[in-house]
């Protein structure tokens, strides 16, 4: 019976090792690519805005408060109009997704850590 119990545990651990490693690799890959993607998109957007000299509209904030309050609506409208919309949308989606993935990863961190501890103990200590 001991032999059979060992066989069962070996099968269970093989399944869990495969599962945990592939899940971990996939999650890390998704997180890294989303974070990298959002950084690249942000850099692209800022570069585009600099090139278009769109950021110059914010020089108004160096003026008096009265001038600022008078022109703030127009400045915002101009800024929004000149924003690269598709890239902006993609960047927001990427940031939200990577944030959700990071939160989920943090929530499951203890569970994943325990699993990895058990797997290492089974394959390397036993």
């Amino acid at each position: 019976m001991k032999k059979l119990e060992k066989k069962i545990l070996k099968k269970v651990y093989s399944f869990e090792t495969r599962q945990t490693l592939s899940e971990l690799a996939l999650r890390l890959l998704a997180m890294m690519s989303l974070i990298l993607g959002s950084i690249l998109l942000c850099v692209f957007i800022v570069r585009e805005l600099i090139q278009q000299q769109t950021l110059d509209v914010f020089e108004i904030f160096f003026e008096d408060l009265g001038v600022v309050s008078e022109n703030i609506g127009e400045v915002t409208a101009t800024f929004l109009q000149e924003l690269p919309k598709v890239e902006m949308f993609l960047a927001i989606v990427a940031i939200v997704l990577s944030f959700l993935l990071v939160v989920k990863f943090m929530q499951n961190f203890v569970k994943v850590k325990n699993k990895i501890n058990s797997i290492v103990k089974f394959w390397f200590v036993h």
């Binding site: 059979l4 119990e5 099968k11 058990s118």
Partner: protein
């Protein structure tokens, strides 16, 4: 090894401490092995079914209701595994019709018992089924949420009724 209840073990496994699955394996392997061995006599096949059943149980741990006992769920998995085993066998060895009819003639009682079981009240039927699966009276009492003496009475009445039905069928 600490003695933990099924509930505690399941909670720990759900928390990622998968080494606690060894508790479940140690607790139920012998019982499951004997149960399968009663139906399938090939030792290797039995071992395969037992192994697969435990792996299936492990895969389902996340969905398990920790307030319920593990054993009934495990038996359900084992029964499914056995069904799959028989199905696979059926697919690989075409059964000669003659042999099949001979086999049916060999065990005419099985069908009769099944028919009679259907005529029992639900609770009596469930209790008898659990007894035939090797559960103790205490476990059945817990499963049916009834006092142990009531379970004894239910089973006694079910047996009585079955034997009455049997004699009635014969006459």
């Amino acid at each position: 090894m600490q003695v933990l209840s099924d509930k505690e073990v399941i909670i720990r496994i759900k928390n990622g401490e998968i080494d606690y699955f060894a508790h479940i394996v140690k607790r139920y392997t012998k019982r499951i092995y004997n149960y399968v061995f009663k139906k399938i006599s090939n030792r290797e096949d039995v071992e395969d079914i037992v192994q697969n059943s435990f792996v299936q149980l492990y895969k389902a741990v996340g969905r398990l209701d920790q307030d319920k006992q593990v054993l009934p769920y495990l038996y359900e998995i084992v029964r499914n595994e056995m069904k799959m085993f028989w199905r696979a066998r059926k697919a690989s060895i075409p059964l000669d019709e003659e042999i099949a009819s001979e086999e049916k003639e060999e065990y005419p009682e099985t069908d009769l018992i099944e028919k009679q079981l259907v005529r029992l009240p639900k609770e009596q039927r469930k209790a008898l089924k659990l007894v035939s699966e090797g559960y103790s009276y205490k476990e059945i009492a817990k499963y049916l949420s009834r006092p142990i003496n009531t379970v004894r009475t239910i089973i006694r009445r079910a047996r009585l009724r079955l034997s009455k039905l049997k004699t009635h069928e014969k006459t």
